[in-house]
């Protein structure tokens, strides 16, 4: 399209290309898509290219590309993940992306702001994923109404960087345009480790008199949450599920297979084995996270528990291939459980935190991880 337009890339240093959806190549059409992307990257001599290194929403922050105060767009609906770093980031379609790559410009309607204020602190075995499933149960999938959502309060500030990314990531499910978290010392520490030029974070916070709609939550009493088929908003406390048997436990995707997610699953499964007849699939979100997990023994703990290691790409979360098979019940750390989302329209997909998915794999049925961790 650039050729047809006779256009140049507006600023190569501000473009990051990540190949994650159609790798590893499985058929002729995915081979073609990836080949076109690779050839284009070579011709253009793009400085920032990540080929099969993991999923863009995790690879970008690991490369130090997302900084507080940035205004960014991504070619995937989970692009609000960048909001965890205090960047205004959102997903756009192919035509708009072409426009941005050529002009460096995009239009925006100034959004209304929702503030989700979380007081207290999360109990052990309860995560950002559970916070998000709780908000989805309350507001539904269009509750965000394409607004800017900010997550704030002591329970949010206490979250690690990757846990914050899970919150911002699933702002997409909330129907928000962006999911912002004010940068702080945790943000700066992460950025320093990536080697990025650490910016001044002063001022990247909501003004005291900002116009917004505010909602209050208490993290202290939050139980692990599980979303039943076929909507992430169809969430209830894990205790409401009466031994729903599962055949597949999936630890994968940008939402649920970052290093911390792998650590959480391993905390449940270390020294144990999944229930007979349960497949545990582990698809780390990035190569970097996979390697760290390997060094820490986290990966081995998951493999010893019976896990199968799948490639670090979007994989089954984007319905790429059909690794689950038909008529199965899956519990997954991913973000979406729409009908057919993970490949088969006859699969029933439940969503939970990595702790909950691991505990369910252990018992062969949807289970409360707090019983297993205790």
């Amino acid at each position: 399209m650039l050729e047809e337009l006779g256009a140049q890339i507006w600023d190569k240093s501000r473009v990051v290309l990540v190949m994650d959806h159609y790798v590893p190549e499985r058929d002729e059409s995915s081979r073609k898509i990836v080949r076109i992307a690779r050839e284009w990257a070579r011709e253009q001599a793009l400085p920032h290219v990540y080929d099969s290194q993991g999923i863009c929403h995790v690879v970008l922050p690991q490369g130090g590309h997302i900084l507080p105060g940035m205004f960014c767009v991504g070619g995937d609906s989970h692009s609000p993940t960048g909001g965890a770093f205090g960047a205004y980031m959102f997903g756009i379609g192919a035509t708009e992306m072409l426009g941005v790559v050529v002009t460096g410009e995009i239009w925006l309607r100034v959004p209304d702001t929702l503030r989700m204020h979380w007081s207290g602190s999360l109990p052990a075995g309860v995560t950002a994923k559970d916070m998000m499933l709780h908000m989805l149960a309350r507001f539904g999938m269009n509750g965000g109404a394409y607004q800017a959502v900010e997550f704030c309060g002591p329970a949010v500030q206490a979250l690690s960087m990757q846990e914050r990314m899970t919150l911002s990531n699933m702002s997409a499910e909330l129907g928000a345009q962006a999911g912002l978290i004010a940068p702080d010392a945790t943000t700066v520490e992460w950025l320093a480790r990536t080697g990025a030029q650490v910016p001044d974070i002063e001022g990247w916070e909501t003004d005291a008199d900002a116009v917004c709609t505010r909602f209050e939550f208490d993290a202290c009493g939050l139980p692990p949450m599980v979303a039943a088929p076929h909507s992430p908003a169809n969430s209830r406390p894990v205790g409401d599920y009466d031994r729903v048997p599962v055949q597949v436990a999936y630890v994968g995707a940008c939402t649920g297979a970052k290093l911390e997610d792998l650590r959480a699953a391993a905390a449940v499964l270390r020294g144990r084995r999944v229930a007979p007849g349960v497949r545990l699939i582990v698809a780390p979100a990035s190569l970097q996270d996979q390697e760290t997990a390997r060094r820490e023994g986290v990966l081995q703990a998951l493999l010893d528990a019976g896990g199968e290691l799948h490639p670090t790409s979007c994989g089954a979360c984007a319905g790429y291939g059909n690794p689950m098979g038909d008529d199965v019940t899956v519990i997954s750390t991913t973000a979406r459980n729409f009908k057919g989302r993970m490949g088969s329209p006859t699969a029933s997909v439940y969503l939970g935190s990595p702790y909950t998915v691991a505990a369910s794999a252990l018992r062969g049925a949807i289970s409360d991880p707090r019983e297993v961790l205790a």
């Binding site: 379609g93 050529v102 239009w107």
Partner: protein, 179 residues
């Protein structure tokens, strides 16, 4: 009916736009069903809205408008949901609210969206006019004037140009040495 550079019909003030009335929450899967997404827009368009109005794709005429309840275009980011309506010659959609991604995609592919609180007071098959007096206004068949939210000039231009791609073509033709 005259058309814009993008092939979409012009909006006109006289009462010549025929209304197709739909309910609330018309999602992107209804507009561009998932099972035909691997095809081109010509094929997708023939399936547009088939599960709520089976006759729509066959009977809609260039210049017709779609009137719907709140939440039009909620769902996925697929651009084809808006492009299918453009392909069928729909001149505009009139609804109280839209899915956020759909709102972007619509203008980007050359579809005019009018945000009108009283959209649902319009009736199936009535003939309406649309005029721009600063903010757009819908003139119902009985002469009632329905106010719409303002649409920024650049978005009106984008829709009239047939979308972002056509605008880029024009812009780059003016600045051949860009970049």
């Amino acid at each position: 009916m005259r058309t814009t550079e993008g092939g979409a019909p012009f909006l006109v003030e006289d009462a010549s736009h025929r209304v197709w009335k739909l309910g609330p929450d018309i999602d992107t899967d209804l507009l561009a069903p998932g099972y035909v997404m691997q095809h081109g827009i010509d094929v997708i368009a023939t399936h547009c809205l088939e599960s709520v109005r089976p006759e729509f794709a066959g009977d809609v005429r260039p210049g017709d408008v779609v009137v719907a309840g709140p939440g039009f275009g909620i769902g996925s980011s697929r651009e084809q949901a808006a492009a299918a309506l453009v392909r069928l010659g729909v001149a505009a959609v009139i609804a109280p609210s839209y899915g956020g991604l759909f709102f972007r995609n619509a203008f980007n592919v050359g579809l005019m969206l009018l945000t009108c609180r009283d959209a649902e007071s319009l009736a199936e098959a009535e003939r309406i006019g649309i005029r721009f007096r600063g903010a757009p206004e819908v003139v119902a068949q009985d002469g009632r004037v329905l106010a719409c939210e303002p649409v920024p000039d650049f978005l009106v231009d984008m829709a009239r140009s047939g979308g972002l791609l056509n605008q880029l073509r024009k812009r780059l033709a003016r600045q051949p040495a860009h970049g």
